[in-house]
């Protein structure tokens, strides 16, 4: 439901994406996530309610986390408040609330850390800004650590490399451990643990959905493209975010995966047991829950005896997959080490295209003038493909190969400097709509610039959260909601399937053009 609370998106969507806002202290204090229920908490192994002596337990947990994670200890010790991160957070740029400045957000935890874990803070708290953990502070933790999308844009700017994402994950972990969890994340993790995916899609619903989509592809192309489920002995297990089975425009990319794998003649399958790439365990900083979610992937690899593991278009899933799948869910004895474990679907498609195994008819996307939104997790927390920076190049190469009109947004707003969509990290919930709209503002301004300058109509991306967030907020900023597309949706539009009605028409056009312009848009 669009609750805008005095935020005029149509006006806010104009201007310099990186413009420093006027300070509005406390402006976002009323934007608060719904709390997890007792049952939702307990399913994840957390107390159902705020525990007795929660201060003591929270401080003990903080001590445990600092012991366990050197990164967190450095993050809490090293900040000199130089201000380099101040104007990097999209939630600060959009809201002007000083507690959304990354250093100030971290300070909410750091002031408590100093009080209990540093000599100066223990003995002279007034001198070093150390403070007791009070109910008011806990409340601020809950509010402002759920206004951080863990996107790391501030970490790129920090001379020490302090990562607010680590700090906000730790804060959420502490809060969960004393019974103060967030409903959106914890309800969803519970669904993965009990049903197998964020949405709660059971096997027969998945099967019916895939069957319906196969019919659609057949109607569109005349080709029998299969979307297999639970096929033991398939070569590739494709794990996609469950939104790809359900939401728009996500489903269009799922159709794209199917077409690519079909055209390349690869043997593959989805798994109903591991029907979720996403892993909100990371958002709440809980490695235990992250591992529980991941075990399903390991189970499916072993049960289906696949040789390759491929991940669909999901930003944070890829961050988890790239960094943790091998250590937390591996080793996977059946997988072929000749391929990356796991591999991003974009890299797989890119390699097939480079090898000449896919043909694209770019003219099928001529109605689209396109830009690309780098999702924060592939951009700043992982890599796609073999080379540094190839996570930026591979999706763009695929888009340029499938669309004649591609225009990047301003340099300070893309690649490693990309803005979060405003809905990442567990914020994609309706009660945080004002946070989401304000967080989206810088990206919307950058999009407005290329829309005005180059007539851009569509923005492509490889993240289920980004797709859902932008589909919701774009209309508020005066864009069409169907201007959001997946990279494999663009591929799906352009791919020329052997034996399809599109292939007949394409080949006829090729012949009559005498190998001219049309061929240039096809195979490399």
């Amino acid at each position: 439901m669009a609750v805008t609370l005095g935020f005029d998106a149509s006006k806010a969507g104009q201007g310099d994406p990186q413009e420093l806002p006027a300070l509005r202290p406390g402006a976002m204090a009323a934007s608060k996530s719904y709390p997890a229920s007792s049952a939702q908490q307990q399913l994840l192994g957390f107390p159902g309610e705020l525990v007795d002596q929660w201060q003591i337990k929270a401080i003990a947990k903080l001590g445990e986390l600092v012991q366990r994670s050197r990164a967190l200890k450095v993050a809490l010790d090293a900040c000199v408040k130089c201000g380099a991160c101040t104007d990097k957070c999209q939630f600060f740029l959009g809201s002007g609330d000083p507690k959304n400045m990354p250093a100030a957000r971290q300070e909410l935890l750091r002031k408590v850390y100093r009080r209990y874990f540093t000599w100066a803070g223990k003995h002279m708290p007034w001198l070093v800004g150390a403070e007791d953990l009070t109910e008011a502070t806990l409340d601020e933790w809950y509010i402002y650590f759920h206004q951080c999308s863990q996107c790391r844009r501030c970490a790129v700017a920090c001379p020490f490399g302090i990562d607010t994402a680590e700090v906000s994950m730790a804060a959420r972990e502490i809060m969960d451990s004393i019974g103060k969890g967030q409903r959106y994340c914890n309800e969803i993790i519970g669904k993965v643990l009990t049903i197998g995916n964020n949405l709660g899609l059971k096997k027969h619903a998945l099967a019916a959905t895939l069957e319906g989509l196969e019919e659609e592809i057949k109607e569109e192309t005349g080709v029998d493209v299969k979307l297999p489920l639970d096929v033991e002995g398939a070569d590739i297990l494709l794990v996609a975010p469950s939104a790809d089975f359900f939401a728009e425009p996500h489903i269009a990319s799922l159709i794209g995966y199917g077409k690519v794998l079909h055209e390349a003649g690869l043997s593959w399958t989805f798994s109903s047991h591991a029907s979720e790439a996403g892993n909100f365990g990371m958002f709440i900083g809980s490695s235990e829950n992250m591992q529980r979610v991941l075990e399903r992937v390991g189970d499916a690899v072993r049960a289906l005896k696949v040789k390759r593991l491929v991940v669909g278009e999901c930003g944070h899933a890829w961050r988890v997959a790239y960094n943790f799948w091998n250590t937390l869910a591996g080793p996977y004895e059946t997988l072929d080490p000749a391929y990356p474990i796991p591999q991003h679907i974009c890299e797989l498609t890119y390699d097939l295209w480079r090898a000449g195994k896919l043909r694209f008819d770019k003219s099928k996307n001529d109605h689209i003038r396109l830009t690309y939104h780098d999702s924060c997790n592939p951009a700043r927390a992982s890599r796609i493909g073999p080379d540094p920076g190839s996570q930026f190049e591979i999706p763009r190469a695929l888009l340029r190969a499938t669309c004649n009109h591609f225009y990047d947004m301003a340099p300070g707003t893309i690649r490693e400097n990309t803005f979060c969509c405003g809905g990442g990290g567990g914020l994609l919930t309706d009660e945080l709509m004002e946070v989401r709209l304000r967080g989206a503002q810088p990206r919307m301004r950058a999009l407005r610039d290329v829309a005005d300058e180059h007539g851009v109509t569509h923005m492509a991306m490889i993240c289920a959260i980004c797709k859902a967030q932008f589909t919701t907020v774009l209309p508020q900023f005066g864009f069409e909601s169907d201007g959001v597309v997946g990279v494999h949706q663009m591929i799906s539009n352009a791919i020329v399937l052997t034996g399809s009605v599109q292939a007949q028409e394409y080949e006829a056009r090729l012949a009559s053009a005498g190998n001219g312009d049309v061929a240039a848009g096809g195979k490399r």
Partner: protein, 110 residues
């Protein structure tokens, strides 16, 4: 919050989704619709009834794409249309129609 129909009080969450979906009845649907400022016509009931039968089979709301396809098949092409569904349920078929039909709110990256 809660809805009341006769002497049945049905608790709802902050956004108006029923806490106990087994309490749903046509009268309760009317009450939910009223609080959403939606007046239920026979066209609304076509959507609500499909949502409920789909939920009974799959324990989840249908994807919008499936809803559109089924509406088209059962009631004609003009009703298998996103804009048409939004004209019935201004806050969206996925969320508002599900709420009135007594389905739980879909969760995830949607």
């Amino acid at each position: 919050m809660a809805y009341q129909v006769g002497d049945v009080v049905a608790e709802a969450d902050e956004e108006g989704y029923l806490q106990d979906i087994s309490l749903w009845s046509e009268e309760l649907a009317q009450a939910i619709a009223k609080s959403e400022n939606v007046e239920l016509s026979p066209e609304h009931w076509e959507v609500i009834n499909f949502l409920r039968s789909y939920y009974a089979e799959y324990q989840i709301a249908p994807a919008v794409r499936i809803l559109l396809k089924e509406m088209k098949k059962s009631f004609g092409p003009e009703k298998g249309d996103q804009k048409y569904l939004y004209s019935l349920f201004p806050y969206g078929p996925a969320k508002q129609a599900c709420k009135i039909a007594g389905l739980p709110k879909p969760t995830g990256c949607i």
